[in-house]
Amino acid sequence: MTFAIPTLETPRLILRAPRAEDFPPFAEFYASERAKFVGGPLTPEGSWRMLAMEIGHWALKGFGRWIAEARDTGEAVGLIGLFDPEGWPEPEIGWDIFNGFEGRGYATEAALHARAYAYDVLGWQTAISLVKPGNDRSAALAARLGARPDGDFTHERHGFMHVWRHPGPSELADGGVEAYA
């Protein structure tokens, strides 16, 4: 099977396909307490399967999540992009920042470009982000991105989550990057 994972560039990040070399920082994040809001903590095997799943997501849906790589150091700083596995309420913009890279605005920068890609390239008319109760930093980021609370969703594995609804393409000039960056 052939499928392509596009590469996007932002001022400080390269958003690119997940690959084998990403496993150490990926597994470290998903093994940590910080991952409790996004389905963790996971065993190393569970993290590896998830990394493989992120690649397969692109093949099955035509979109997915990118590894965000810092342009200056080449380090993988997070997993950010578009997520819609079976049983998801609707396509989501998600952001997981790996340990040690929080507080630098990377999630905002990457999420804005992921949202612009969803609207401008894929033609999405709306997008949500799911945030678990207590994940205040993620909720604050959703609010900074212009999203508003829009009900909740309970998933059989991830449990109860708040739905944040992003402004649609018509509410954002030029897909949103220029409007909010």
Partner: protein, 200 residues
Amino acid sequence: MPKNIPVIETTRLILRGPEPEDYPNFKSTFTSYRARFMGGPLNPYESWMLYAAEIGHWRIRGFGMWMIHDRDTDETYGMAGGWKPAMWPEAEIAWVIWPEVAGRGIALEATHAARNYFYRQLGWKTAVSYIDPKNLDSIRLAERLGARKDPAAPTVDGHDVVYRHPSPEELDGTQLAHGIEMEIGHYADPMFKPKGWALD
């Protein structure tokens, strides 16, 4: 690492990479009782995540599980190939056959071809299969493929039994290889009527 998953053709089968349109068949088996020895039954979310991981496994490792298709009708029969998530002691040769097509020697034919590919094209020197000790059909298939229990080899989680496959040399023009191919030949013969219990 090859971006394209290789295609393998056998007497009755074509093995190709897992495609999005094959997912419903995968889900049907993995959400069923048939998956009880493979970590299942899975819920639909887990099943989808596993199928996506099957595809990603190829990109990360350069090998993985093929989808088994009928050469003529293209319908899917199951999967066979290699599997090695992080922390697994060794690369595994694995198979799963949809329950409705069990008993036709499809797993034998597909897994034999996959193993030959790993040995001849990828240079594997050995391989194991991790099998639930209650999964008698899979143990029988491992034995028909010439694998033997390897009590000294590390298991995945202590609840599985390790079967060690014959080495490339043990399958190179040997009586064992001939026997496997003869059995596959029987199943490929439309006049062949297997007796006894259903075999994968």
